[in-house]
Structures are given as structure tokens and as C-alpha cells.
Amino acid sequence: MPAIFVLAVPEFMPLVDQARQRSSYTVSGPKNGYYKIDAPGAIEFERRSLGFKPAVWHGALTGGLLGQIECFDNDRMRLVDRVP
């Protein structure tokens, strides 16, 4: 299942907060400064609901991605398992 690491700093916390509200998403950590978010099938976020300005949105995966980008445009991202 795809996963992302999220640096535990205020500007990225909306990713963690929103993932915690979803029953199928698992949020672990923080460990050594990172949360890990995973979800079966796909991880999806939408920029406006996170309250992210464009500059932060486009760097939202800075913590790291275990998986691959299926879609990442100005408003929406969908992350899935990496196809070898």
C-alpha cells in the first residue's frame, strides 16, 4: 500500500490531521521527526481542503513517497503503489 512520510512541522500538519479523520488511513509516529501515512489502494488529498497555498501544496510530498504519483495537479493528488 502507498505511504508518505510527513515532516512533523506546522506547515505540513494538515496532511496528518486530515489523514487522522479518515478511517481507512493509518497515521504512525512521529518518529525521528516524521509521521507516516498509509492507506490501502490509494492516498488522496485535495489542496483547498488542506488549506494549502500553491507553494506548500507543490512541495507536500517533501517528506518522501513510498509509491508513485498517479495524479498531482494544482488541486489534487492521488498516490498509488509503485509499479516495478
Partner: protein
């Protein structure tokens, strides 16, 4: 700064050439209100084709200055002409203010002086306004929301190390390095090994 670092203590000056002397002085001294604090006037020396010149400095706070060279009797070469391109604008200086109120005050004062502010952008830890001087040089004024901490340094190291690994692999005939997704993937793979199970 660690004890091995060279003992620099901030910015003394940034310097760029100008072929618009009066416009530049008016902009920095009169519109932005930065005092003209020093001016070198000299015959060309050093390089054989070096023009006579003025090298002048505006106070930019905390010991920093904004400096220009004015090369008398010359025309600007093509390589200094501003371009409407993000790679040209990458070379810029960002000047610091201490609070968001000061940033907004800067914006108000710039616009009152007839200077167009292109953007106001909230980044991860800074918020900035962007405008151009009369030479077409991009200027940024920025406010840092929070200080950089150890967690930021560790994360920066991981990002850059992941990217360096990809750059090296490409240089040695490996996979092409052409997306940030590759950095995110390499970083996560390294992080997973480092952190183990959560």
C-alpha cells in the same frame, strides 16, 4: 553555524551592474528610503578593457548594503539583460523584515510609490513579496514565520542526499534524473530503512 564553518557574519553587500544611474538612485534612495552610504569613483583598472566606474552602496540594514556598478560610457552587454524567465529570476536577493506587519507595510509603501508588486507568496516557512527595480532585477522582501530547527536541517540533508544520489547515478550512466518524484521516492526508501517499523 558549526565551529568548522568559515567565520562569516551575514551579508555585507550584493552587487549588480546598472546602466540607469539616476533611476537606480531614485528607486533605492528616494522610493525605498535606503540611505546612500558610500560611493567609490575610480578610473578603470585591473582588466585592460575595464571602464571607469562608480561603485555605490545603499544601506540595507544590519550592516548589509545593496551595491551597484555604473560603468561610464558603456552599453550593457547582452548577458546582463533581464529576461522574463524563472531561471533568470533565480538570481535574486531577498531582503528580510521581522514581522508580517512589516511585510504588509512594505507592500503598501511600494504600491503607494507606484512600484508594481508582482506576487505575495506564502512558502513553507517564509512569506514574500516580489517586485523589480528599474534595471529589471528581481527583488524579494521576506518574513520568516519560524526559525529553522534541527528537524529542518535533518530533513534538508535527507532531501539533498537523495537528489545527489540520483544526480550521481545519472552522471555514471544510470537512470535519467528528471522529476522530483524520484527524490521523494529515494528519500522515502532511505527513511524507511533508517526508521524501521513505526
Amino acid at each position: 553555524m558549526n565551529s568548522d564553518a568559515i567565520p562569516i557574519a551575514g551579508v555585507h553587500h550584493t552587487a549588480r551592474p546598472t546602466w540607469k544611474l539616476s533611476d537606480t538612485v531614485h528607486f533605492y534612495r528616494d522610493l525605498l528610503g535606503l540611505p546612500l552610504v558610500h560611493a567609490i569613483s575610480a578610473r578603470g583598472w585591473g582588466a585592460e578593457n575595464h571602464a571607469d566606474f562608480l561603485h555605490f552602496f545603499f544601506d540595507a540594514g544590519q550592516g548589509a548594503t545593496i551595491a551597484f556598478f555604473y560603468y561610464i560610457g558603456t552599453e550593457p552587454p547582452d548577458f546582463v539583460r533581464p529576461l522574463d524567465d524563472y531561471r533568470y529570476r533565480a538570481s535574486h536577493t531577498a531582503w528580510r523584515v521581522e514581522t508580517r506587519e512589516q511585510l504588509l507595510d512594505c507592500r503598501t509603501r511600494l504600491e503607494r510609490a507606484g512600484i508594481r508588486v508582482h506576487y505575495q507568496v506564502r512558502h513553507e516557512v517564509i512569506e514574500s513579496i516580489y517586485f523589480d527595480d528599474p534595471n529589471g532585477y528581481p527583488i524579494e522582501i521576506t518574513w520568516q514565520v519560524r526559525p529553522f530547527e534541527a528537524i529542518d536541517m535533518a530533513d534538508a540533508r535527507r532531501s539533498i542526499e537523495a537528489a545527489i544520489t540520483l544526480e550521481k547515478a545519472q552522471r555514471h550512466g544510470g537512470a535519467a534524473f528528471n522529476t522530483i518524484e524520484q527524490v521523494w521516492q529515494a528519500k522515502a526508501t532511505a527513511l524507511e530503512q533508517e526508521l524501521g517499523s513505526f
